[in-house]
Structures are given as C-alpha cells and as structure tokens.
C-alpha cells in the first residue's frame, strides 16, 4: 500500500483523540525491514528522503505503524503526525486541567455546604438557644452568598470561554467606583493590620462610559488576592491615564501588595484557567484558580492587557490597562472650561541663563511652579509625570534637545507632561521633527508673557481633550483671528 490510499488511511488514523495502541513485537519486526523509521513525527535517521528514494515506515506516537511512504508523501505524513501529536498533547493538558478544576471546585463547594448543612441541623434542634439559632442563620446566609459567588465565577468563566459574555455600555463615575472599592478593601486591610494606600491623580477622567460592574469585578479580584496573600505590610490601589485618543481614554490600574509573591515560573501560568501559583497555595489558601483567568479575559474584553511583577517573598504588583469611552457631555464641558495654570509644576530646560530666568518669571507670574535646569542630562533626571508641563529650549544643543524630547516620548512622559519646544534660531524641518517626536508646541523666541499664556492654555486644553496637534505662533494667530 502506498500513495493516496495510504494517505487516506493515515488521515483516519490521525484522530487527535485516539489513544495509540502499544507497540508489539510484530510491529518492531516490521520496522526492522526498512531503511528509515519515523517515530512520533521524528525521522530516524535524519530527514532528506528524495523522491523515489527508499521507502520509510512511519510509526505514530506509541509506535503505531502508520504505513510505508516515500518522498513527498512521507513529508506530508510527517507534518500530519507532528500536528496530531501536538494537538493530542494540548488536549491532554486541557483535560488534566479541567479534572483538577473539577476537584478544586468540588472542594470549594464543600466548605459552604458544610456550614449550610450544620447551621440548618443546629437551628432545627429545639434545644438550641434562640441567640445561637440567630447566629446559625447568619452563617447560613453568608455561606449561601459564598456559593452564589462561586457559581457566578464558574458561569462567568464558561461564558467568557465560549465568547458569550458581552460588556454593558453605561455612563458611570470612575472616582465614585474606585472610592467605593477602596473603602471596602481599606476595612479588610484594617482588620488584618495592613496599611492601605489609594491614589487617583487629578488627571484621571471621571465621567466615563463602559461596564462599571465588570471593572469593579477585576479590581475586586485583584484586591481580594492582594489581601489574601499579604500578612503584613501594605496593599495599594492606583490609577493613571495612559493615553487619550479623541473620545476614548486608556487607563492603567495597579494593585500592589507586600505579600508572599509569586515564583518566576508560576508568573507565566497564573492567568490560565484552573491554575494556582502552586499546589501548596491551593491547599493553604483555597480558591478555584478561576479568578485571574476571569480577570484576564475581562481586561481583554475591555481592550486592555494584564501583567504581573513579583518576587517570591517580595510582594506582587498586578497592572492592567483598559480602554473606556468618555461621556460626550463631559468632553464638551471640558472643552469649554478654562484651563487652570495655578500651582502647575513646570520644568524649564534652557542653557541660556538670561532667557531661562525670563521664562521662569513669566511662568511664576502666571501662577505656575517652574523649576529650571541647564543641561539635557539634568532635565532627563528631573523629568517625571509629576510635572504638568515642560519647556524645552533647543539651545541645549539642537541634537541633544531633540534627543531629550525623544527620551520623554519613549518613556511615555509626554502623556502626562506636554512639552513646548522653544528656540531663538528656528530651522527648516524643526516643526516636522517636533510633530514626529510628540511635542505639543514649537515657539520661536522672543516670548512675550501673553504668548506664553496663550500657548500654555492651548497646549493644556489639547492635552486634556486628547487632541494631537502642534501649537505654533501661526496656529495661535489663526485662533485669535477666528475669535475676533
């Protein structure tokens, strides 16, 4: 048998679910008569069978003889066999995980079931005093709630796994949601003797549109884990805006703890379903191993990603991003609202002392808090998202000025700290370079206080609304003309 007939037989044999029979003495005898043998996708001796070359016996996984093949037929059979073996391996892993999950879920069901069963039996006993009966009913209620949560987790995962879970789209206030979650976990931490820190900077937008319930679920899962695996030290929740793009905003959330940490090998697996960092964790802390798998899928549905930084014994930081729509009414309000310059920290990088001092005086008069540096390296060292704006003079050295801007751009600092590039000697191509590197304005000196104010207001309004454009003397003149 050879060629298409054999390929047809092979096709039927390559059923990924089929368990191959054990190798028999007869199979080995048959194998001994051939020049080459292929076992589970691997040829022995090495590949290079020419068309019309000697026939090879193909053995599948476990030694099942699949047939005799030559040249191109052999290559196709090899590819099928390798694919089948890989698929079978994945199915086995998946089945093993599902079995482990069933065992874990069954264990997790038993605990609340025990409480329910005992509470009912004790409450039914006429000898039980009324105050105890009341306590038993309270425990019963709590266990019913725990069962409810567990079943919801299982149903959520099942829906996410089959792509049947859809996010809602409603208007909500992000700050109220975060404060509410933080309040609950602040209390949990207080009970455990842990510090709880909660940080949401003012540039995080509040009026958003999306699925607040699912966002809360992600935060609750991560904070719940942080509290569960931390015995001393602290837990924190922070949010920050990553990027604004027209009517959407990308946010990053971080849940950090000083708990037991996660081994590097386990970090890659913890977002898979049914997996806990290790067996000991499952034994000691319980849980189904579905929480982080659900969390990852929800984050992905919200257009984001999730990752972890952790060290065994050194705590963990779970970061996730998500994209949310901004409420149209809020966008309109923000566009109309005046920009506040008061108290804004401004970084001024200029090698020329006289022009630097002149700009510092103008900024201070406008109510900003300016800080000056005279070299690109000092500016790179000092720059941080704590600055609300930066002025970067190309007199630092044209190359180093643009290099510095490039560094800010690469580090993502421009998302928090828009940069106004200034120069006393503009050159052809400067503006295009500014656009390429993400600067918000390009202004030629001298700078009058009115110019600085107008440019700052335009840049900060653009930044707040997520608008990308380069403000120049020309655009400012055009806007001024349009308002007259």
């Amino acid at each position: 048998m050879g060629g298409p007939d054999l390929l047809d037989r092979l096709h039927r044999l390559l059923d990924p679910l089929a368990e191959p029979p054990a190798l028999t003495a007869g199979d080995l005898e048959q194998a001994a008569g051939f020049d080459a043998v292929v076992l589970a996708g691997e040829r022995v001796p090495p590949t290079g069978v020419p068309d019309g070359g000697p026939p090879c016996l193909v053995l599948g996984e476990g030694g099942i003889p699949l047939g005799e093949l030559t040249g191109p037929w052999l290559m196709r059979a090899l590819a099928w066999e390798a694919e089948r073996a890989e698929l079978q391996g994945r199915l086995r892993n998946s089945n093993r995980r599902a079995e482990e999950m069933l065992a874990t879920v069954s264990h997790e069901l038993r605990s609340p079931m025990t409480v329910i069963s005992m509470a009912v039996q004790l409450a039914q006993n006429p000898a039980t005093p009324p105050e105890k009966r009341e306590r038993h009913l309270k425990l019963l209620g709590e266990s019913v709630q725990a069962l409810h949560t567990l079943l919801n987790d299982i149903l959520d995962y099942s829906k996410l796994d089959s792509g049947r879970l859809e996010l809602s789209e409603v208007d909500f206030g992000l700050r109220a949601l975060l404060e509410n979650v933080a309040q609950g976990y602040g209390l949990v931490c207080e009970r455990k003797g842990l510090d709880f820190d909660f940080k949401v900077p003012p540039d995080v937008p509040d009026a958003l549109r999306g699925d607040p319930g699912r966002l809360r679920q992600v935060l609750v899962n991560l904070l719940g884990n942080a509290c569960k695996f931390t015995d001393k030290g602290s837990v924190s929740l922070a949010a920050s805006p990553l990027a604004r793009d027209g009517d959407t905003v990308e946010l990053q959330f971080t849940v950090r703890d000083s708990g037991i940490g996660i081994a590097p090998a386990a970090q890659a697996r913890i977002f898979d379903a049914y997996v806990q960092a290790d067996k000991d964790i499952s034994r000691k802390f319980g849980g189904t191993g579905l929480g982080l798998a659900i969390t990852r899928r929800l984050v992905e549905l919200m257009g984001g990603r999730i990752w972890v930084e952790s060290r065994l014994g050194g705590g963990s930081a779970f970061h996730f991003t998500c994209r949310l729509a901004r409420q149209p009414a809020a966008l309109a309000r923000e566009d109309l609202a005046p920009v506040s310059l008061s108290g804004l920290r401004a970084l001024v990088a200029d090698r020329n002392r006289a022009s630097s001092e002149e700009l510092l005086a103008i900024l201070a008069d406008l109510g900003l808090q300016p800080e000056a540096v005279s070299t690109a390296s000092q500016a790179a060292k000092l720059a941080s998202p704590d600055f609300g704006v930066a002025f970067l003079d190309l007199d630092l050295g044209r190359a180093s000025g643009f290099d510095l801007l490039d560094q800010f751009h690469t580090k993502g600092l421009l998302e928090h700290m828009p940069v106004l590039v200034t120069t006393s000697a503009g050159q052809r191509g400067d503006a295009a370079r500014c656009v390429e590197l993400g600067a918000s304005a390009y202004l030629t000196r001298p700078l009058a206080p009115g110019d600085v104010r107008t440019a700052l207001e335009a840049v900060l309004a653009d930044h707040r609304a997520g608008r990308k454009r380069l403000v120049t003397r020309h655009t400012l003149r055009e806007e001024l003309a349009a308002t007259r």
Binding site: A103, H107, S111, M113, T114, V115, M118, L139, S143, K284
Partner: protein
C-alpha cells in the same frame, strides 16, 4: 471534663462545631486554633484529650500538624479526627498513614460527627 482542640481556618465552621460539641451530653472544654501553626503553638502550652483537625489551612496544613503530633512524645497517643473537605481516597490513605484515628468528610451530618466522637469521649 474532657478537653478538645478544634483546628479549622474557617471561623464559621469553628463556631458551628463548637456549638455542636457544647450540645454533647458530657460537658466538653473546647479550645479553638485558627490554623496549623496556631494548633502546634497551643499544644505546646496545653494538653488535650482529642484533636479535631482540618487539612487545608494556611501556615501549616493538617498533615503537617498530624506529623508533628505523632512525632512529639507528649501528643503521640492523642486521638485525631480529620474533619475535612478532602475526600479523595489518596487523602484518606495519607491521613491514615500519618496516624489519623478517624476521618469525617465535609459536608457531614452532626450524627456522623457524634459517631466519630463516641469512641474517644
């Protein structure tokens, strides 16, 4: 009065088992431990007539506590009832090999628990 050390990391189960034990005809003195390490610390300070021991617990699990109990001369003969949600045969065999006296799986009837207690109290 007989003394019992009840070890379970779930407060609800400790409360309910305590209430059940307090309904036992003979008066029992029930002490609670919140995890395996707490159980060992408590047994280092005090002696008991019976240990009721959960398996899945933080800090030290029930098997580790059982090993400690059997290797310690003061507690080597202490009757130990494993009260646990682990019901795989292998878990029962492991408990028996380490010296568990009896095994009650969750969820259980109070009658099952009383039946297990009868032999030791």
């Amino acid at each position: 009065m007989k003394s019992v050390l009840l070890v379970d990391d779930q407060e609800a189960i400790r409360q309910l088992v305590r209430d059940a034990l307090e309904a036992w005809p003979d008066q029992l003195e029930v002490t609670e431990a919140v995890d395996g390490q707490d159980a060992v610390d408590t047994m280092n300070r005090q002696t008991f007539d019976l240990l009721i021991l959960d398996i899945r617990m933080p800090r030290k699990d029930g098997y580790e506590v059982l090993e400690w109990v059997r290797s310690n001369s003061a507690t080597a003969e202490l009757p130990v009832i494993m009260l646990t949600a682990e019901n795989e045969d292998m878990d029962i065999v492991k408990g028996a090999e380490l010296g568990a006296t009896s095994y009650v799986t969750k969820p259980f009837n109070l009658d099952d628990l009383f039946e297990a207690l009868k032999g030791y109290l």
